[in-house]
């Protein structure tokens, strides 16, 4: 009898703590965090259509001297190596006016913004920069390969997103090269380590209103970041675009997708790969901005339109039966 009453009191006390804890946390913080609505199965609801965040943000601080673009650009125009003209396009699109520009590197840890590359990764990057005329050093994007993680989430003008949620899953549909990530939330173990995939193997969980995704089982076909081309003559030590940073199959990425206000999803990813980096490093940026509800993910048939590109890069005509 006593025992049962004691249990009940303990349960009430636990319930009170559980219920009050978030309320106390709210009271203590000056700005109340955004609480998204819930899906029928109780997940924070982040489903919907999204467009990329700010496109011109540098990925990293250069490990060497900053690069000055050649003087042939007209005075007064500031076209960085990461732009592709996308900045102007984004500015013209009024629906994207709410996106705040940022000139800070995406790399927030280490605090100097530099990617802590192992010497062989920096060497490989140098090789990539100095051999852009060789097919094997082309950006995987140009070869129509999948972007990998976290690169799939770096804001680029050729991407948009649809997030779907169903019981036990979050699914991210990427327009870019028709990548799809089906992320189970049930805590199942990762795939057998012998299975290696360009987009890896993702497992998710909700921590409060943040979707945390851990991805492993990568191969080494992808680049970690890289959301812009290099400038002609630019030394790799001056790069701020993330271009040319390879990784090993030991890559493990922990991503955090946090809806901050119903419009913007802030994104953080910590990259663990002791073979490629001297320490884990973290990138953070506003990755996704809610788009119009009637936005449609169109087909990104990259390889299908790349016959001329492949011919130029390799001399191989993949479709000689076509005119």
């Amino acid at each position: 009898m006593n025992r049962s009453v004691g249990n009940r009191i303990a349960m009430v006390a636990i319930a009170a703590t559980v219920l009050l804890a978030p309320a106390l946390a709210l009271a203590q913080s000056s700005a109340q965090p955004y609480v998204p609505p819930r899906t029928p199965d109780g997940q924070p609801d982040i489903s919907g259509m999204y467009e990329p965040g700010w496109i011109g943000q540098p990925a990293e601080a250069p490990i060497g001297a900053p690069w000055r673009p050649p003087q042939r650009t007209a005075p007064g125009r500031t076209i960085g190596p990461t732009d592709f003209g996308a900045r102007e396009a984004a500015e013209k699109d009024s629906s994207r006016a709410q996106i705040k520009p940022s000139t800070k590197p995406m790399v927030i840890d280490p605090p100097d913004g530099k990617i802590p590359m192992q010497p062989w990764v920096a060497e490989r990057r140098k090789l990539i920069y100095e051999n852009q005329d060789k097919a094997e050093h082309l950006d995987p994007r140009v070869r129509c390969l999948q972007a990998g993680v976290p690169r799939a989430n770096t804001p680029v003008y050729y991407n948009s997103y649809q997030i779907l949620q169903k019981p036990g899953y979050v699914v991210i549909v990427y327009e870019w090269n028709h990548m799809t990530r089906i992320i189970p939330l049930d805590g199942r173990p990762h795939l057998d380590a012998r299975i290696r995939l360009p987009m890896g193997d993702s497992r998710g969980r909700w921590e409060g209103n943040t979707l945390v995704v851990e991805t492993t089982n990568f191969n080494d076909d992808t680049w970690v970041l890289g959301h812009g081309a290099i400038g002609e003559g630019q030394p790799s030590s001056s790069a701020t675009s993330g271009h040319g940073i390879v990784h090993s199959p030991e890559l493990r990425v922990v991503e955090r997708f946090t809806p901050v206000d119903g419009h913007i999803i802030n994104y953080q990813a910590t990259i663990h790969d002791p073979k490629a980096f001297t320490r884990p490093f973290t990138v953070a940026f506003d990755a996704m901005v809610r788009g119009r509800s009637d936005h449609q993910i169109f087909e990104y048939a990259c390889h299908e339109g790349n016959r001329d590109g492949i011919l130029m890069a390799t001399g191989v005509d993949i479709d000689p039966t076509q005119k």
């Binding site: 999948q146 779907l164 449609q296 087909e299």
Partner: protein
């Protein structure tokens, strides 16, 4: 006068609708004549979520064909047995067949198109929500987003995987696909279509682990009449099974660059 005519019409209409519903649902469910068995989503639709795959040889040839080295024989999935080609198109199919080893778009890692992607013998996963049915395929990480939100087709575009709009007719998901390129084939045997192809697919659950898949192809430029294929989609039941990624393009580059 008008009003008096409308009222009896409504009275008559009710039993007629009931009869029509009974007839159409019986047509959709010839085996049981009742609602399909199996799981349902919260909005009451058959729950097609999960991983599916065909077990047939339609990928190699949708018509009946003998086995050959590397090609399993098959009894065909075309209703009536033969595709009703126009005479010129039959000639073109023969040409395609002769050079199929190099001319098959799949041998170049191109997206398989609709409906071929359904019967490539690799698994695909359905993600079903009230407004969208997304199909993710292992082959070439192809993907279809089927809008079930009542929206209309886009106009006059060309996609490798087409533009798909779906609706539920009872327990059958009916998907209309157009805006297709003429660069995809229907199988490895050179069966083909034009950009005028209109594909109507019907996904009807036949128990919890089977879908009766019927697809009608209309293409007045290539065929003499609409024609139909049918086959069964099987649910993959292995515990822990998940969709992998046959990233054909990356294999192409490894082969081409010799690494």
């Amino acid at each position: 006068m008008r009003v008096r005519r409308v009222v009896p019409a409504a009275r008559v209409a009710t039993p007629l609708i009931l009869v029509w519903l009974a007839v159409t649902s019986a047509a959709a469910q010839p085996a049981t004549g009742a609602r399909s068995q199996g799981p349902r989503t919260p909005d009451g639709k058959p729950d097609l979520n999960g991983i599916w795959q065909v077990i047939n040889s339609a990928h190699w040839d949708i018509e009946a064909h003998s086995p050959e080295e590397g090609v399993p024989g098959g009894q065909g999935v075309v209703e009536g047995g033969t595709i009703p080609y126009q005479p010129w198109a039959l000639e073109k199919r023969k040409e395609n067949y002769a050079r199929r080893a190099t001319a098959d778009p799949l041998s170049k890692c191109y997206l398989p198109g609709v409906p071929r992607v359904t019967y490539v013998p690799l698994p695909f996963e359905i993600i079903q929500t009230p407004k969208y049915v997304v199909m993710a395929f292992e082959i070439a990480h192809a993907r279809r987003i089927i809008y079930t939100d009542g929206s209309a087709h886009v106009e006059a575009l060309e996609f490798w995987m087409g533009d798909s709009r779906g609706r539920w007719e009872g327990d059958t998901l009916v998907v209309s696909t157009n805006n297709l390129t003429d660069k995809t084939w229907l199988d490895k045997a050179g069966n083909f279509h034009s950009t005028d192809l209109h594909v109507i697919e019907r996904y009807t659950p036949a128990g919890p682990n089977h879908i009766q898949y019927e697809v009608t192809l209309e293409d007045p430029k290539v065929f003499t009449r609409p024609w139909k294929m049918s086959m069964i989609l099987y649910r993959r039941l292995e515990p822990g099974l998940q969709l992998l990624d046959y990233d054909c393009v990356s294999f192409f580059w490894k082969r081409t660059l010799g690494k």
